[in-house]
Symmetry: D2
Subunit: 399 residues, 4 copies
Amino acid sequence: MTDPPLDQTLRSAQAFVRDALVPLEPLLLAQDYDRLLPALASARDHVKALGLLAPHMPRGEGGLGLSLADFGRLSEVLGWSPLGHYAFNCQAPDVGNMELLHRHGSAAQKARFLAPLVRGEVRSCFSMTEPERAGSNPVHLDTTARVDGDDYVIAGHKWFTSSADGAAFAVVMAVTNPDVPSPHARASQILVPLDTPGVRIVRTIPVMGETGRGWFSHAEIEYVDVRVPRANRIGAEGAGFVLAQERLGPGRIHHCMRWIGLAERALDVMCRRAASRELAPGRPLGAQQAVQHWLAESRAEIHASRLMVLDAARKIDDAGAHAARVDVSLIKFYVAGTLQRVVDRAVQVCGALGVTDDTILSWIYRHERAARIYDGPDEVHKSVVARHMLKAYGVDVAI
Amino acid sequence: MTDPPLDQTLRSAQAFVRDALVPLEPLLLAQDYDRLLPALASARDHVKALGLLAPHMPRGEGGLGLSLADFGRLSEVLGWSPLGHYAFNCQAPDVGNMELLHRHGSAAQKARFLAPLVRGEVRSCFSMTEPERAGSNPVHLDTTARVDGDDYVIAGHKWFTSSADGAAFAVVMAVTNPDVPSPHARASQILVPLDTPGVRIVRTIPVMGETGRGWFSHAEIEYVDVRVPRANRIGAEGAGFVLAQERLGPGRIHHCMRWIGLAERALDVMCRRAASRELAPGRPLGAQQAVQHWLAESRAEIHASRLMVLDAARKIDDAGAHAARVDVSLIKFYVAGTLQRVVDRAVQVCGALGVTDDTILSWIYRHERAARIYDGPDEVHKSVVARHMLKAYGVDVAI
Amino acid sequence: MTDPPLDQTLRSAQAFVRDALVPLEPLLLAQDYDRLLPALASARDHVKALGLLAPHMPRGEGGLGLSLADFGRLSEVLGWSPLGHYAFNCQAPDVGNMELLHRHGSAAQKARFLAPLVRGEVRSCFSMTEPERAGSNPVHLDTTARVDGDDYVIAGHKWFTSSADGAAFAVVMAVTNPDVPSPHARASQILVPLDTPGVRIVRTIPVMGETGRGWFSHAEIEYVDVRVPRANRIGAEGAGFVLAQERLGPGRIHHCMRWIGLAERALDVMCRRAASRELAPGRPLGAQQAVQHWLAESRAEIHASRLMVLDAARKIDDAGAHAARVDVSLIKFYVAGTLQRVVDRAVQVCGALGVTDDTILSWIYRHERAARIYDGPDEVHKSVVARHMLKAYGVDVAI
Amino acid sequence: MTDPPLDQTLRSAQAFVRDALVPLEPLLLAQDYDRLLPALASARDHVKALGLLAPHMPRGEGGLGLSLADFGRLSEVLGWSPLGHYAFNCQAPDVGNMELLHRHGSAAQKARFLAPLVRGEVRSCFSMTEPERAGSNPVHLDTTARVDGDDYVIAGHKWFTSSADGAAFAVVMAVTNPDVPSPHARASQILVPLDTPGVRIVRTIPVMGETGRGWFSHAEIEYVDVRVPRANRIGAEGAGFVLAQERLGPGRIHHCMRWIGLAERALDVMCRRAASRELAPGRPLGAQQAVQHWLAESRAEIHASRLMVLDAARKIDDAGAHAARVDVSLIKFYVAGTLQRVVDRAVQVCGALGVTDDTILSWIYRHERAARIYDGPDEVHKSVVARHMLKAYGVDVAI
């Protein structure tokens, strides 16, 4: 049996997002998780039946085997709704954990952790950021994993472990080799089932007015002498930082792809309002020059974002993530900025309606303010790009 | 007995805000109204005991009798916390209703509606905006008040009637004279106790992820043949639009004064983080040039905002609201923009912490996005200013 | 003989620009036309010897036959220097006149006017804009061409007829059919040798401090009863506006392509300064975070500009200029804005040096401020894009 | 005889600027110094006859004795034209040299150098910046002044010694004490008559397309063993840096005051064009919402600038320059930014006319791009402000 061509996949996905997922968004906006979560589970079953689950994973691992560039086009379609990626089981942080286990997991790890993840039967989380340490500098970690016989005993304090609530396991970043000279070689990544004794979810961190639940949440976690087999370590001891970097490149472009979908959605809301709201009989809001300029600027910036993201994706497909790391830093701040500006303009065009939860704009406005922060703030990515540029002129500047 | 000098009032208010109100903010951020509302009632009792309640009202009406310029300085102090104005009983929309009744209320209206409002015993609301009508064009209203004997019978649909939940009465804007040629002379303002039959609060509109409660809420209301005495009309029949304009001038400058307090608060959070968070041992976040530039730009814009607001307040004190209407439009968009930029920078400096509800930033970021919209969007105010400027050059452009 | 592949053409052009043209720029900056103009003539001879003259023209007309997308890549290379396009004989306004005559010229017009133009033996100009008429609305023209026997007698006042000084002929836009109902069908384009009696160059308009000379100048011209044969009309009577529109699409994308080269040049100057200038021993300017951010933002915006311009060029190659007219409006304002921002940052990085004529920055800063104005100001292009967007939502707004 | 009240002075100055100086501006725009310079000399005679020369100087030194705040109001009036300050003999760099000599000059220095300067009979210049040293870090200087008997022998290379062409003397900053530990105590300021042997004006640096002449020029100078008496040193040996700092504070606020005048002028040009240019019959340019927004934003930013500058001036009048140094850094970058934005908008509103030398805009656009650079670039001033802010939070960050 041959794969359906990409265009057909995109059409199927688009129809599903608009017909089945957008109607569920009011439950998200109302924070009605009691009804939302089962509805999403059912939606995911439909996607599985369509054969579109885990589109980013190789076919051998149970996915659809899309290239990154093709996944980028699909991701924009899914990003139209905040529910899209989840329904198709290609949502962060699971998508990163799948790729990590696919590349570096042992056979046993794949069987136990990866397979049910790809099938969408369980969720996972990634536990790296610590409240007392600057997230932009992940070589500074206080969490430790001490060897005790065949086990690691993990102790530490993490936050922004997104989606830990209800997850089956976490990938925990912990210092295993504190005495190694290079700070980049001290940490390891370790699989920790969340029902392991000593794992304590302190709270679900309220973010922008919402505590969330399940996948839609961000946990603060204490690891109090949590004991797991050393066989749960992913990759080599001390490889944690390298694996984290390897994860972040594709993770960032995944976000960029999704943001383009969200930005298109916000622009659609803006256009609908501009076309339908009348300032005076027969004079739509869109007749205002300021509104016209916002529409055009938004279209230009989204168009630029899409072309740059697909260009970077093709580069990763062709030459690998390392070759495109500067491109990824470039799109990370550019597309995040585009999203924020487009959503802000859409809110302004919608007026009082724009700040209510009657449209999707408020959700995007609030939850994607973090886009300029997570996976490296704008400031770090800009300096990464500049440093690379200046190397071509013979100087190496710190960032 | 003489009044305390302004500086002493400012010091007392500042101490109260920081010592008594800021500690209550976590209840606001947690949306824990069961505990917040009684605590605020108690705080207001303390303010009353300090003799500082309703500082904007004349002494004869039970207030402190501050000039607008002096109230401006106090308002910045109160604006440091989203709870400040409420605790001092000078919060919108009550402040506008107090001024309206003070200026245009009959003796009976003052006794029944104004006096308990000034004493902080009841709350009120202002019911003008309609969901199907552009808020920026208040001459288009569908709500009507039909005369029937000695009564008005009010029918219509309003939203963003802020703080209606739990309020004692509303000032309702309704068309009483639909056939008058000038659209500016068709509506009247009518006092409607909210327990009058036919008043139906459809819902509390969820705004930026929060439904709110009591003062912290925005109602959608249906008026289904609501019958009130004609004596409840404030001012002349058909004067509704003129009274609304008269209200909006001071209302806007009140917001600007408050925003300066909020902007200072956000800047304080930003500075604390820049000073305390370390990127590396001994290197605070504030050593970063980007952070330094955001601090300086924020300081400049807040400084500019304060000087312009006080300048406009003095002009109103000296020459009346009409003389300063262009100045008010100028500060409305300038200060709202300053607040949004300062808060956005503060969020970025705080990183992941900035999007949580662990600081006040998220609340400001979400709830004051509307600052550029309510009481006239930026776009309208800019055109008002430009139209005035161009008149000096001999042309009259529509806005 | 087969054509050299594009990459080889690009390399040859790049080498020539950097080795032969950049060294001539000090003459341009010093406004030393006595030495510059002969040097440029000599440079053009070398380009002709390389077989690279008129790369945009079909081989049948004596050009290189590049597609628009390929010309776009070459144009960026040439745009590195303000002298590039001229040396390769693909500079505005001649490039537009060549295309016009190629598409719509009669055999006699091609022989007399086009052939020497393609060979680089003469220059030409385009005389449309009038001082008393808004350039953004070219249907309003006061210049007339009255039929008298076999001749037109042209009378009118034009300005910003760029490069008229020393040109062999102008293409003049004049009203031939004032009584036609549609204002879009009143004007025609007419070839006028500049030595025709009645052509009076009033002055070379000083622009941004420079009067210029020859190709580097902008003329104000009076046409005082200028008599030319009716056979000098290009295309049908009344087709002037249509031909002007046809000209402007490619004309705008040509500018965008060139601006990318200029923006890259400014970025190169910025990088060199950031790498070489020391704030303190061992601490280059580029170690400053603000400089790093400007570099990265410039790189992002130029990258976005290039991808969008090439995307539009491919669309024109594939589907024609009309299909891509909205894309062209999009890039017109986006790329012009990119250029202005990049140059402004480069000036700031260079400090006092940046405002001198010791670098190319001052020239770009001054002469390309007009990029946001000529061939339609930003405001018009944004509204064109928005109008197109809103049509998809069922409304047609005026622009 | 009593002084004329300030308002009368302002009215006289305003009338003179508009009636006598604005008509001379076309000579400036045409770089016609042969006619401009004598006309300006004559204008200055008229100002002297009005008794308004050197308004910033104390009456005892031959000036008008205005406070800084009052001079600020006058300076805005003069700044309306680039010729205003020169005509009133309060132009940089002479104004700084007058203040320097007034405060720190010996009686002999005052008699020989200051008196003719105040009377407007000679001009002077300030020779500090060096081409190979970052202007933002004036403690790094290569120019030396070696003691030889009763003389200094000065050797070094300076540029941006503004107005050296035709000046009677320079104040030269040179290292006299290279071995002092503190780099802030190594340089001295020395009076050097420009006809002293060894002073070589290498060139007048072309800036933004203009070489200029006389006061309107910027010199590159070599000092080749220039011998002057040690009595020409101003103030103590090693005090050069301190004196330079003392000079820069008022110097910066003088620029800010002048920029407000220029910004008002640009806004006036913008308004005139918006009111008079028609897009279509009966529809002025100012009917466009984008133009209206630019007008309003410009008005807001200029209003903010003026209030902040006067606030800082009053602070200097009351508490001295040191107390207001952070205020001065704040206005330096804010007002320079305002000017650049206002002029840029004015150019855009004027379209093609805006880039010609037919209006004053081109001159402002070109020559005041340096406003964000000279006397400390924006970046330095922002960091100065931030550093001061963060000190209040207990940290001292480098800038």
